[in-house]
Symmetry: C2
Subunit: 504 residues, 2 copies
Amino acid sequence: MNNGVEVCFMNPGTSEMQFVAALDRVGGMRPVLGLFEGVCSGAADGYARMLRKPAATLLHLGPGLGNALANFHNARKARSPVVNIVGDHSTAHKMFDAPLSADVPAFARTVSDWVRVAESGEEMGTLATKTIEAAMGPPGRVATLIVPADFSWSPAGDLGPAAQFRPRAKAFASDIQEAANFLRQLGPESGLLMGGDTLTDAGLKAAQRITSGTGARIFSDRNASRSALGGGRFAPERVAYFPEKAGAQLAGLKHILLVEAKAPVSFFAYPGRKSTLLPDDCAVTVLARPGDDGCYALDCLADCFQAANGLNLGWRGSSFTAGSEALTTETLGQVIAALLPPDSIVCDEMVSSSEAVVAQLAGAARHDFLPVTGGSIGQGLPVAVGAAVACPNRRVIALEADGSAMYTLQALWTMARENLNVTVVIFANRRYRILDVEMSRTGAGDLGPLANNMIDLGRPGLNWVKLAEGAGVEATRATTAREFAASFSDALSANGPRLIEAVL
Amino acid sequence: MNNGVEVCFMNPGTSEMQFVAALDRVGGMRPVLGLFEGVCSGAADGYARMLRKPAATLLHLGPGLGNALANFHNARKARSPVVNIVGDHSTAHKMFDAPLSADVPAFARTVSDWVRVAESGEEMGTLATKTIEAAMGPPGRVATLIVPADFSWSPAGDLGPAAQFRPRAKAFASDIQEAANFLRQLGPESGLLMGGDTLTDAGLKAAQRITSGTGARIFSDRNASRSALGGGRFAPERVAYFPEKAGAQLAGLKHILLVEAKAPVSFFAYPGRKSTLLPDDCAVTVLARPGDDGCYALDCLADCFQAANGLNLGWRGSSFTAGSEALTTETLGQVIAALLPPDSIVCDEMVSSSEAVVAQLAGAARHDFLPVTGGSIGQGLPVAVGAAVACPNRRVIALEADGSAMYTLQALWTMARENLNVTVVIFANRRYRILDVEMSRTGAGDLGPLANNMIDLGRPGLNWVKLAEGAGVEATRATTAREFAASFSDALSANGPRLIEAVL
């Protein structure tokens, strides 16, 4: 493998042994072991979100790929490029229905728009290049190459050619002009929804010029793969999770412009409530599709208006004095915001605790924010692994609900193995708290004792300090704001990973 | 749900809240929570293997099902009946490509031969009955019913009709006669391969009469879902894992009779070696296909010969004096065999440690043995959960490799939550040891340092005592035979689960 693919997150088996042996023989690839495949797929997602280029994953047959699907689903929704290599039984062995035989392409198609099965050893180089090209899109994709074992142990062909990447499409000047006209006419009754790769310094600066030149309202896709936040940066309104609140945010809009985003819809549907969130009479225009050059479009649009570049919002940072009060999501958010080191990377899988904490992060130092994208739980810790591998000089903060962290807690071991500078905060409320809310919203009625048991994680309580130490990660427990602030501060200056169980 | 489905292993989300609420309202279903979906699918497999009837699973959308696929693959290969209910977005919501939207039937088809999507609330009762019928086969299947959320919150129709189950097919008398003839003529050059549901007391007694009447050799499918072993029972030769050894076992056979089994093939293929294991000139006849009544066929066949029923093998049990020697797979096997309580259930996911231990178990007290079926790692602990729920009055012993146990260690929490009498033994060799063997067998050559890192689990070492305690399970570590014997003995008389880390 070449073409700029430098890291492989893997959990290999017998059919992949040739790849593993080639790590030393060929070189140029950093292998990172995950003790569960969902760690690998999630790490590749986190890596791609930070570097906008693919890592490889190396997985073992259909069921090994099966274990990776949930986080590939999330990577797909993040539009992260991933080069996914899956070993299969040798061609001659497949017909015998051995125990591990399965329909590998069928597993792959659930999350990959691009799936190829190698048909000879000779074509492997060319196919590898094609897989990288497919992964890069744009937009990024999980591209899957399935390699029967015999093509790994038969003579290889030439290395593949250099990959050629398609450019991102740029908007027509006439479209920009037309968009500028209606923003000017409608002012605050018009809006702009930013998603994809636009929530960067460049995109945010352009958006700020647009709103100050027109009064148009600026929103961000809450599931966009990465957002630059804090440090006084211009902050679009993030579309809310629950449809009532999102509907209220978007009320009054007559026309919305989509920039690498789709028209916003509710995360889940509820009885008697529609899925779409925009007012019924709001017109929708697409300035840039996912994969197009949205920042170019925003820049061109901003140039249509008179507005200062780089308006100073007068950010002074966040501060908070932590005392002996018990922990709440609000106090945790305040401490985290006050102590967040500049240029950190924040992974959010706090679920029911997220809103209160994220509200505080707006006042924190500048950071990149990696939210839930596809909604499949178990994303946060693996994404933190990938982000830390991608950006070894930045601090990664993984903010995790206790229920969520359990799905892929094997990621802790990889953090220890690779000595990654990740600070994990477990929001330990000992419930699938979000389901308390959803239970009533879906009209399912009151919780009986059996139903309550399916939401209660407190019997027995998970001990996150022991779980972390068992996986080789130093850990502490905090029950007051002061304890948490001390632990969080220590963790941020540590060499390697730390976990803090924040008891709510 | 009715029709004899009494347990549901679940990890529900928003789309399944109506099902969860109905647990209290309707009753008759025991819900068991797993903190990862692979625990639920593996538990349903273990339950079905012990009771020969389905448990239900309740999972959340495509990616939640994705997390369950590896153990559904194993359940499929075990031919375990499972009633798999998966919630999806409401019908109207699907078109909007919300974050969790995915092609749920595509996820399901990777492991289910039977997949239906509900099309109205009224048909739910009928569809539930059909799902149970499909799951029961025979042979058993993972039958998947996908339920859009709106059919859960809209008015339900009638309860479904009583399920009707297809009978198992019985062999023709003429086939039995013909089989009897060639066994008589060929004697030890003929053989019988037992699989499926035949490795029970009844099947083994018949097999013993057949071999003593004819000299025919009796083999067992190493991946059959459940085998009755120990206590002086007749023991067929289990076909070996590696093809050289299996080939040597089967050498000299001129004719083999398959009883609920398929012709044996190698687990993996290797360069220059064929997949099939039988001698080239060995004829194959199928007396009972998977799902047919193999025990009936064996009984009829046995009746063709003069042989005593229930021959006493003079079993006296296994004994072993444990001293201060370091642990090896042999000593562990000896201690386990000596202390194994009668009628326990042994789950084997020891991988590279399995052969040495299983050799000792032949001399242990009578037990049921649940091996790897589909080869996807992460099966053992969840299967132990399901077996313990199915058989609350029996002791379950989960023998686990450390690498394997990590895939689905969330199962430990469910053992604690349900206070299941499971004794988990972790064979802690701190490597994916089987890959050392496979690396050389596949011709991949010597291990360089990077490749070695992908097989080494010792940096950092997993601390299984802390991992277990973190999940609410009491645990100890053993480094000598005496320590292990004491811990194992304690664990077997404990109320609830225990874990022992056996350091190799």
